[in-house]
Subunit: 393 residues, 2 copies
């Protein structure tokens, strides 16, 4: 199946209002007059504007008022346009900055445009900022009397709780990503390349109508080295894994991965993969509301190490939303800021890996799925869609 | 042709040394003790480390000394590893930060890790920074006596001049991207979708062995609205354009686009497209070393407007390198910081567009190619590769 997915209908205005209300409450709590955002995900959360045209994400900025109104700085216009988007009436204007360049490549142009718009918001602004470059910020401070307040962490924390429409959209894109993984597994063949496997996944994702492919990596015979496809060719019995992701409509993400085998695997490889699946099951079973973030990786690694297998050397999971990876971080104490407890309704990815050494050669196995945390445990979102879920079927 | 491209052999160590020497000279000029970089492109330029696993680019950081040695902070390890990469001996260590999260999602963890490593570089550091979040920076300043010096703009300017190996790599990836455009044009069919066109391009890019797809947009019957594919289906005579990009080996980019027609175009559409090609030719002919950046767009738009067509409403071009869009910006005075003159050996993309209104309906046409600026003018890099350029051919 490689066709356009029937993406769910949803009320984008209601979703925007729900997210904007949270942002506005946060601004009141922090006594902020406005936000100046440059992160495409934060901009989208606060304004519903799709500030992501490429993976170069320093092209856009948004000024957001305490009423949730916004002015946006765009890299593809040459004049200010008032009330530009009938479907986003809260966006009052869009302004030109230097096209096709990081804000820091043309800082004076950026500072002039942003200062001009910010000046109308009042004087002595308390301005919440995400990762605005220090050089840009200093320039703004020469133009305006403003107190910058870093809010990136606060916004990330705010975004953990998911609205039901967010879960609906995360569900849909996870299904498409699961279909893409199936296509990728089916594309692995003796003599074919790791790139071909990823090409099959991408073609599936893009034909289904995703907004953006976020990543696409495949480890074939690269041991504990990096995960990048390297033009390697599959041989009989080869294990491999890949990790792929995309944003669907609304900008909601799926991040997932699979281990595959070409032909008949070695018994030691199959055994290690089966142990990984058991460790994965253990972690999933622990993931109920109230579970400590650190408990999942600890249990997974205890099982793997007790079977002589390599541990997962990174966070076993993370939240998924308008970024492929967001809070909560499911790692170990000391390697995350807070050992939070899981919350009903949030969406997470789990991604255990293990390493087995056979005849002196290390092989890494990895699985990743997306889940929503429900009252009694996880519901998996990365389920392969049926043919009836596609347009024209 | 959809197969693995024969990427050129090149001396990665020599390229690293050449780039690192430029960075070190810049640090001496700026009297910097070290750099703290978070931009994947700046990290790669200074260290050759591929800090780009997904489009979420706030996962990595690098501390770079005046000798060009580096310590890197990774989102997928749980302990420090000394001398981790035999092929990058200048990377002295890699350190763990919170996995799979923006640095600002787990700021305390990030600050502790970076401060620990930075402390060994000495006290009273003058530290060059790119877009390090203000909250992270304040945290570091509580731990260390450091003076942050914004260097993002300086690094972007430094990177305009291209080493011959950079041109070699930009040439190769541009050829692959040109092949992908040809595949995309061939995939447009009556009844098919805009997403299918992009899927064909992506599958081609990925099968050829690109490192990363940067963007993939297609405007089919969306007028002057956004460029995102929307599940629209082609009808006889439809014009459309797409804009696609990717990073090839070494992380060098191509950014390009084409206008296409399904079946027989309306005469007014064809005429507008031919005028766009003439305007494009005019801009290309002007692009010789010493030409003013602003002159290209001005001439292009003068031609288009004199023929009653819509102007290109953004920069007509930009540099291409370790980012798909970098300096120089080829826009208008006031919409870029410097009206520079073109330099022999630099690589640029040119991307004029025009709009024509037929029967009250606006249609946008766009073309984009990558070029190297040579002594007597432009040499186009986005040339369709021959079958002999692929492995197995």
């Amino acid at each position: 199946m490689s066709a356009l997915y029937r993406w769910p209908d949803y009320d984008a205005v209601e979703l925007h209002r729900a997210r904007s209300a949270r942002v506005q409450a946060f601004m009141r709590e922090q006594e902020l007059d406005a936000l100046l955002l440059v992160g495409p995900d934060h901009i989208r959360y606060a304004t519903d504007f799709r500030a992501h045209l490429t993976n170069e994400s320093e092209w856009f900025a948004a000024l957001v008022t305490r009423d949730g109104e916004a002015e946006i700085f765009l890299p593809y216009i040459d004049e200010t346009i008032v009330d530009p988007y009938p479907e986003l009436p809260w966006v009052r204007a869009v302004h030109a900055v230097a096209s096709w360049s990081a804000a820091t490549a043309n800082p004076a142009t950026w500072i002039a445009a942003v200062a001009r718009a910010a000046r109308s918001l009042g004087s002595r602004l308390r301005l919440g900022i995400d990762s605005v470059d220090q050089g840009l910020l200093s320039g703004l401070q020469r133009e305006l009397d403003l107190t910058p307040v870093p809010v990136g962490t606060g916004l990330h924390r705010l975004r953990r709780e998911k609205h039901p429409t967010e879960v609906l959209l995360l569900d849909a894109v996870s299904r498409v990503n699961a279909g893409a993984m199936e296509a990728a597994l089916g594309a692995a063949r003796v003599g074919g390349t790791d790139h071909e496997v990823l090409a099959a996944a991408m073609a599936y994702q893009q034909a289904a109508g995703v907004e953006f492919v976020t990543h696409s990596v495949c480890n074939l015979r690269n041991g504990t080295g990096d995960w990048f496809a390297g033009g390697r060719r599959f041989a009989e019995g080869d294990p491999f894994f890949f990790d792929i992701g995309c944003y669907g409509p609304g900008g909601y993400a799926s991040d997932a991965g699979r281990t595959g085998f070409v032909g008949e695997p070695a018994p030691e490889h199959l055994a290690a993969y089966e142990h990984l699946q058991t460790a994965y099951r253990i972690a999933q079973d622990l993931a109920v509301p109230g579970a400590k973030a650190s408990s999942l990786l600890a249990a997974c690694n205890e099982y793997l190490e007790s079977h002589g297998l390599g541990r997962t050397p990174y966070a076993i999971g993370h939240g998924v939303g308008l970024r492929i990876c967001e809070l909560p971080t499911l790692f170990s104490p000391g390697l995350m800021d807070e050992d939070v407890t899981l919350v009903e309704g949030e969406v997470i990815a789990l991604e255990p890996e293990t390493t087995v050494v056979v005849d002196g050669r290390a092989t890494v196995f990895k699985i990743e799925d997306d889940f929503v945390v429900e009252a009694h445990g996880l519901r998996r979102l990365t389920e392969i869609p049926g043919p009836e879920e596609f347009v024209g079927a």
